[in-house]
Amino acid sequence: MPNIVCQHRILSASTTLTVALAGNPNSGKTTIFNALTGARQHVGNYPGVTVEKRAGTCKRGATTIQIVDLPGTYSLTAYSVEERIARSFLIDGKPDVVVDVVDASNLERNLYLAVQLIELGVPLVLALNMSDLAKRCGIEFDLVLLETLLGVPIVPTVGHTGQGIDELLNVVVAVAAGEKSSSPRHVPYGGEIERHLDELQGHMARSVPQLNGVPRRWTALKLLEGDEAVRAEVASADVLREADMAVHRLETVLGDNPEAAIAERRYAFISGACQEAVRSTVESRYSMSDRIDAVVTNRVLGLPIFLGLMYLVFQLTFTVGGPPMEWIESGFVWLGGAVAGLWPAGSESLLRSLLVDGVIGGVGGVLVFLPSIFLLFLAIAYLEDTGYMARAAFLMDRLMHKIGLHGKSFVPMLIGFGCSVPAIMATRTLESQRDRLTTMLVVPLMSCGARLPIYALIIPAFFPPAWHAPLLWLIYLLGIVLAVVCAKLLRATMLRGEAPPFVMELPPYRWPTLRSVTLHMWNRGGAYLKKAGTIILGIAILLWAMQQWPNLPEAQVQRFAAERADVAAETSQTEETRAARLASLRNAEAEAALEASLMGRIGHGLEPVLRPCGFDWKISTAMIGAFAAKEVFVSQLGIVYSLGEEQAEDSTPLRDKLQANYTPLQGFCIMLFCLISTPCMATIAITKRESNSWGWALFQLGGLTVLAWVVTTAVYQVGSRFF
């Protein structure tokens, strides 16, 4: 790097600093991260939203600072995934400085992590965040005193306005350069514990090397706490035996296990420091929040308010989302027409068909749902960022508990009504792997937005208007009921285990910032967009190919050509009649071509299997299409009924055809099967990624398909006796 004028001389010219950002969930860590890096990141109130390791950089003079956003944790034990991730980064990643973001309005609890960071011996800077809110709550800090008591530099910040960020960076650079000395204070654990700590340290000094530059005192503490990960790392039978004896002796002396006693001393130390350096004059930051909660989490009012809000969300999604959906749809129709127009009329170019039918048709069909999906995510982001979602989890806990899950699983299920892909991603907020898997596996039963066009096609085709809304409700409800049953089954069999303890922090209500809500929406909606751009595109092309090949036998092609020539030659008929006959010939040829194609053959092959469900080969073929994306079912059915794409869009002719060919019971069975069966390709792919196993993804695929077959067959077989 040329031309470097260094502001902090001690750092060498082209220094890169690694700064880890630690902090409790809801401490505003992500806002600080955004303010530091300007990265597109999301801030939510639902505890544990930040599970991934995120990184960004910023410049300070000649110094490049790489900032790693650690998962939000309350502690540095190794009990949860987030804690393990954070801890291993702190130990193995050897960050130059660790910034611990502490919520000024909830200092005592937040300092618990800070004390552990001090013990870990990392170069620490505290960002006293939301200091404006704390001030408004009437909390006053004696920062100089607090710095002395903890022995760590403290910088007051306000994440969302960027206040104090500059100063924070100055201090970070200064600490890294060794210009600012920090002399962290250690928690005094009192006679007995201290004595054992000393003994263990002495023992380790004699027999094992220092772990990864971590202070021996920390290792000794962790051994007394019985930390499995540290025990495994120490790996000296001698030291471990010594530790076990110490734990045993402490248990007798303290009448409690040392882990609890150690935690108690830490809190006592923090409480002592806060009593000296923090003065609180007014009521807690929760006074307003509690008043809202008195209504919102009320035993009687809570559930109706929640249901009302959900109703509003869906109403918003579909009414406001309607017009833009139509624009996108006509946009794609126009695009398809424009691209098709590049070829001379009547030409049978394969590339044209690939672009128009495969790419534009396939991806367009998915993108049409973008507005309503974005709106749904916007509403959910808003509810999350205000803090309401955590309350919803609280309200739903009683219900969810009955199926062996807890309240938190509820949010992914709700998102599942929009799209299963982000819903499965949202299961990351669940700590227990069993919970996560169970939720992930049943999420596709929440009827996603892409299944709506199928219902919209089928219901009006077979049922009188008065039945439309109740039937739609019934389908959604069936999905929910099946999800409940499946979750319960899974929890009782393959994913057996005690219901995980339900502990969660309820953040105070906040006004979400527009930026954070839109970012949140964008991140989730982006996942859907990406799916459209990658998986769906690939599958659309594959399905298109399956429809193209093998071609119609030459003899048939010639027969159709001959017939067309006949019609064209018949001068006795009017122009219009001839055009109509030509069109119907074209459609008949398309149908014959589809039947001859690989997809048609598979559909035929599936017919015997799906006959008990009341399906013929045409429906079976369309079901294969639904695997790409559920809504593809509609356009596939359009093709098998030789209506051509354009007429399928309009639905009315297709509905007439359906009505002529099937009974209402079969119509209902189609919806049922589409609801339950094979979640789309993208869902399987995301389940594979999130569960990290093809086994679970394929189990989901197979399990739901079998379930769909069983349920639909039962309904059809029983139903056909009566109707």
């Binding site: 034990t77 949860s80 609890r109 409690d256 909660d293 989490t297 989890a393 922090e505």
Partner: protein
């Protein structure tokens, strides 16, 4: 369904039986290590003041160290608290 243990002679009761609005202190947590570890990180340790904000038959809403926590009823039964001003033995 609700498991209400009668107050023991020394005044120690499970959190699940604590009346909302009554200030109390954590005395002991009778649970496995993992659970104790998680509660500890959230501030529920012996000596911490705790208050039940609301209890609707489902999980409890608690006020602990200036934050609001939701705690499942099963877990709350394992957290023993002392509601007496004079302290419990």
């Amino acid at each position: 369904m609700e498991q209400v243990r009668l107050p023991q002679t020394n005044g120690v009761v499970p959190l699940s039986a604590l009346k909302p609005g009554l200030p109390a202190r954590v005395v002991r947590i009778e649970a496995g290590r993992g659970l104790v570890g998680r509660l500890t990180a959230l501030g529920l340790v012996p000596g911490t003041p705790v208050e039940v904000v609301s209890a609707n038959g489902g999980p409890l809403l608690l006020s602990v160290l200036g934050s609001r926590l939701i705690l499942g009823r099963g877990m709350a039964a394992k957290v023993l608290v002392c509601a007496s001003q004079q302290g419990c033995d």
